[in-house]
Subunit: 204 residues, 2 copies
Amino acid sequence: MAPKFKLRYGAIKGLGEPVRFLLSYGKIEFEDERIDLQQWPSVKESMPFGQVPVLEIDGKKTWQSLAICRYLGNQIGLAGANDWEDLQIDMAVETVTDLRLKMASFAYENDPSIKEKKKAPVVNESLPFLLGRLDNLVKQNGGHLANGKLSWADLYFVALLDYLNFLTGFDLTKDYPNLSALKRTVLEIPAIKEWVTKRPKTDM
Amino acid sequence: MAPKFKLRYGAIKGLGEPVRFLLSYGKIEFEDERIDLQQWPSVKESMPFGQVPVLEIDGKKTWQSLAICRYLGNQIGLAGANDWEDLQIDMAVETVTDLRLKMASFAYENDPSIKEKKKAPVVNESLPFLLGRLDNLVKQNGGHLANGKLSWADLYFVALLDYLNFLTGFDLTKDYPNLSALKRTVLEIPAIKEWVTKRPKTDM
């Protein structure tokens, strides 16, 4: 019997969406539990490290989105062909994490003037530097983030984009033709297209 | 011929030390280049994403410490026996990354009063929560972070500890017997002991 999958996350795309993309790509049925803010305090305590996403696999709790995505990538044929290829995938996804952490460094600041002060160097310096190099990486890899072929890194990045764009306030890929093309490539995969059409509509 | 390894990092332990631990454990000869702050601006531009550590393997640049450590873990027999075991290792190391990011959220703040304000909730809430659960994870795993046996996650954590302790200002493991025991276990591995004895002495 196939294992049962249950994703536990908030009612947003965020860090849960890469997991949803990979499960959808692999045609793996999953329960998509969306915990609302009122429920969260009571749920938090029962999560292994007080965080979500948590993916339950046959009742066993797994946590940390990147760890889960790497595991799923392996199960659905989107990992590398060997350790060296897996390294290239990991280098790319960790760079996407750096990008995300740059956004997070200002996005959750409540004071508008402090937020603007933190946001400016990120938008003017860090983002152009990172995005320019990521765009070049995709160019070198024939339209993908690693190994010249589709991998879970591509799905991870594109699944996260709506959330990153929401935090930043603009489409990160707009000035980067290779990143834009990668986004289109992933969103045109039939299983991803189907998921994106049927998923609940949320801002971030 | 064995591949040639050259680690490029700053003159600190920091995120380079887990790479040094794993290379040492695997008895892999490596050049340990330590870039000083004066050299850094001229080196930065030539790094793939403007960051170190970078590990050159036969002249090919690899980056992102976790990606590099996972690759090395695979090469030296410290990965899991299957995808599920690798997932357990990844869940643990990503949790250590969360711990590190909590420290980084205050440690690089220059203004002492702002620093204190940021540090208090981390030290009083986040650290006890995360460390308590990590300690329990090690207890459940018979003295290791995953799978009831030594893995690259254990070396990663212990290699990073001096740096994390420096940022926090106290020994993170002091109130956590299982984490303290894990530290001793790793530091008593002959190849690690040899490396720790011969490495340059630095604060962090």
